[in-house]
Symmetry: C2
Subunit: 304 residues, 2 copies
């Protein structure tokens, strides 16, 4: 499997448009050793194949596609994007669908819950339905592996989550937030994309143990971190993000995972964005990497 | 008035993600003398003032704000954006509101028609209503001048238009599409922003005649242009865009307008994007400029 990290930040990106915290100021001014990041987005493709699948559809998708030549069209009206796989209905994970609105047929893979939250109840969705069948929904059922093209297959696996902010009044469902497991062939290397994980469960442990390539929720370093910059903000767990640090933090699990591991969906408040910080050093010492926009990974390669 | 052109292309930008026409290929490959452009977006501010108003909210707003230092925050959670003025409800003019979703209070100026099309019937709108009063609507009534801060005042003026694509079943209204006239003070210089103008009317003629700074619909060169790249596409006029060329084209009007004039909302199919094209030479000969991302204009200055 070929993987391109088109974006690696949490909602709002880094720096965030309305944030003047130490990290955002530092990366804008160039006084901090840190890289700007757009909102989390992966693209994956089978070895030797021309088609690509998007994991998520970030609000920055337009500029992310422009920055990635393998995703450019090859004919007058064309795209190598073979499908879009959605793991949750948060706006920072789905808004980019509206960047794909130029009468292009699309295939969207999502749980029924995520699909209905998006395609029903939003008048603007009709922009993606200019002709019958423009958007085709492929339903993901928890735990059932589904074939994509080029020998790829995906499975949606429920992780601790929550409904998206704009559907907060809906009762929670196990289909609200899923990790995506992708395999090129049975027995082949396994990619797990889990940008939103609210805490530890046996399934989360199993995903970490079996992934050859793991992109895991790196949103927050501590539970109360967001409140330090945005007073009154909820704690990490209430936003379905398991903080990295301390006893019981996700870094304990990730340190023992056997595959190649990256943190992704990193919030602008997370001190690991500062490459000279002690927090970043702790991540490094745990053998875990912090994903960056533009990163290219192949399951055939060793490293990083 | 200070003006910053944050984006100058029509919906989809230039190059467009799923387009491999001669212009899109050429700008990607660097074989054409042409500049890439994000989707049309202006920011305006009174001289000496720190606050800015956005005219439109393009899907590229996140990266557009990042690229414009005067629009960066000055405190921990802050923005110099004092308000957003919407002239129509097309997604390429409003989707960027969802880039401003980080619990920031916002003021949106729009006609009742544009406001209801956006704030009603879209569940994702609740993302901008995390607390009561987070988004305040200021109603624009056709032809009535309304004061903003810093001595600025705006007027919404009906131009030939249409409902947005996703609300195409609604009966057309004069409030669907408006030009925005902005003045720093009574009798002072006048800015007109009219990225969508479906044809000639006495009011359109008056706006062109009275604007000291005019940013006008430069979407298409000819009526049938889009169909050449996207077979079956409607004609320019059916999309509420008055083509530039030929007898009865908008360039005839613009050539005679007395103020400084820029074309904006330029579609990726428009040959004027090629700086070496005869069409671009015709525009130049008419004394009209083609807006570019990053352009900064001040009504106190002379030229270009």
């Amino acid at each position: 499997v070929k993987v391109r990290v088109l974006g690696s930040a949490a909602g709002g990106g880094f720096p965030q448009w309305n944030c003047g915290c130490r990290l955002c100021l530092g990366v804008r001014a160039g006084t901090l050793r840190a890289r700007a990041r757009t909102q989390a987005q992966l693209a994956v493709s089978a070895r030797g194949a021309a088609g690509w699948y998007l994991l998520g559809a970030s609000p920055d998708l337009g500029s992310q596609l422009a920055a990635c030549p393998p995703l450019h069209p090859r004919g007058p009206r064309d795209t190598p994007i073979a499908g879009i796989v959605l793991g949750n209905g948060d706006l920072d994970h789905v808004l980019g669908l509206f960047a794909l609105r130029e009468s292009q047929p699309l295939v969207v893979w999502a749980t029924e819950r995520v699909w209905r939250g998006l395609a029903e109840g939003n008048a603007i969705w009709r922009t993606l339905e200019r002709f019958p069948g423009q958007v085709r929904w492929e339903r993901l059922v928890l735990g059932e592996e589904r074939p994509l093209a080029d020998g790829l297959a995906i499975t949606a696996l429920a992780v601790p989550g929550k409904p998206p902010l704009h559907l907060a009044s809906a009762p929670p469902s196990a289909e609200d937030t899923v990790a995506i497991r992708l395999r090129e062939q049975a027995g082949g290397p396994t990619l797990v994309y889990a940008p939103t994980v609210g805490g530890r469960t046996p399934l989360v442990e199993r995903l970490a143990a079996e992934a050859d390539l793991l992109f895991f929720d790196g949103t927050f370093w501590t539970s109360g971190e967001l409140g330090g910059t945005a007073p009154g903000a909820p704690r990490a767990e209430a936003m379905a993000h398991w903080p990295l640090s301390g006893t019981g933090g996700s870094l304990e699990l990730l340190e023992r995972a056997p595959g190649r591991r990256w943190l992704i969906h990193v919030n602008n408040t997370n001190p690991i964005l500062d490459e000279d910080s002690p927090e970043r050093a702790s991540v490094r010492a745990a053998g875990v990497h912090v994903a960056e926009d533009g990163l290219a990974v192949d399951t055939d390669e060793e490293g990083p």
